[in-house]
């Protein structure tokens, strides 16, 4: 068995990919938060997060009364980095686009 095997097994499930996508795109979140945002029960979210954690794709950290999950820099670092960079670039460009209109407009 290759050392990457747990990673592929974890990624083979659509719900787990969706959770990863959400964590990569929207930042760290708790299971309760994820269950509220996605059409998945909290119980199922916890189960899938466990699988992702075993594959070392996410890490968990206790924060007050909740446990927050974060995408692990490795092995998804490149993908997550790309998303963060490109996302930040569009955030600033779209803010500039919005500014074009607020300059010429009185609210």
């Amino acid at each position: 068995m290759s050392p990457d095997e747990p990673v592929f097994a974890a990624l083979s499930d659509a719900t787990r990919r969706r959770l990863l996508t959400r964590l990569a795109d929207g930042g760290p979140a708790s299971a309760t938060q994820l269950a509220a945002e996605l059409p998945i029960s909290r119980q199922a979210v916890v189960k899938h997060l466990d699988a992702l954690r075993e594959a070392r794709l996410v890490t968990s950290e206790r924060s007050g009364r909740e446990v927050r999950y974060t995408v692990t820099p490795e092995p998804l670092a490149d993908a997550v980095g790309w998303i963060a960079d490109v996302g930040a670039q569009w955030d600033s460009r779209l803010a500039a686009l919005q500014a074009q209109f607020s300059r010429s407009q009185t609210k």
């Binding site: 990457d4 990624l11 990569a24 092995p75 490149d78 996302g87 460009r93 686009l97 500014a99």
Partner: protein
């Protein structure tokens, strides 16, 4: 980030989606998106572009940070004035692969939403139905990262 299928293997592909709500009619928002000078103003660079699908363009960024203080070259794939949808491919001159950017407008009660979707090369190939390259012995994740 999305994940797609290459044959029976799973590969990591990704896209970024952002939008902004503008307090103006779609016509006005469309002009800000398609007029080279106004486009350059909010992209943060100098846009040399013929607003004709299939034509090539060049953007020189004035940016302060190292990453943006460069140029991008690309070509305009689609410019649909009726649907108010624009798509192009762009890359830095030393990048091998381009990414695809789609900009679309949506009229809302209060104004217009401008939505941008940028997809990585792998995701783009998958979207337009070109079969993804078969993963080699390194496995799908290594393949995906090689493309990231």
């Amino acid at each position: 980030m999305e994940l797609g299928k290459a044959g029976t293997e799973t590969v990591v592909i990704h896209s970024v989606e952002r939008d902004v709500a503008l307090p103006v009619e779609p016509e006005e928002a469309w002009e800000a998106v398609t007029d080279p000078e106004r486009l350059g103003d909010w992209l943060g660079g100098d846009v040399e572009m013929d607003p004709v699908p299939g034509s090539e363009f060049r953007i020189r960024f004035d940016g302060e940070d190292g990453d943006e203080a460069r140029e991008r070259v690309g070509f305009l794939e689609e410019l649909d004035h009726e649907e108010r949808r624009l798509s192009f491919w762009w890359r830095r001159p030393d990048d091998e692969l381009a990414t695809r950017v789609q900009i679309e407008l949506e009229e809302t009660g209060e104004g217009t939403v401008v939505r941008v979707i940028e997809t990585s090369p792998l995701a783009t190939l998958d979207l337009i139905g070109i079969p993804l390259p078969a993963p080699r012995s390194h496995g799908p994740l290594a393949l995906a990262l090689a493309y990231a």
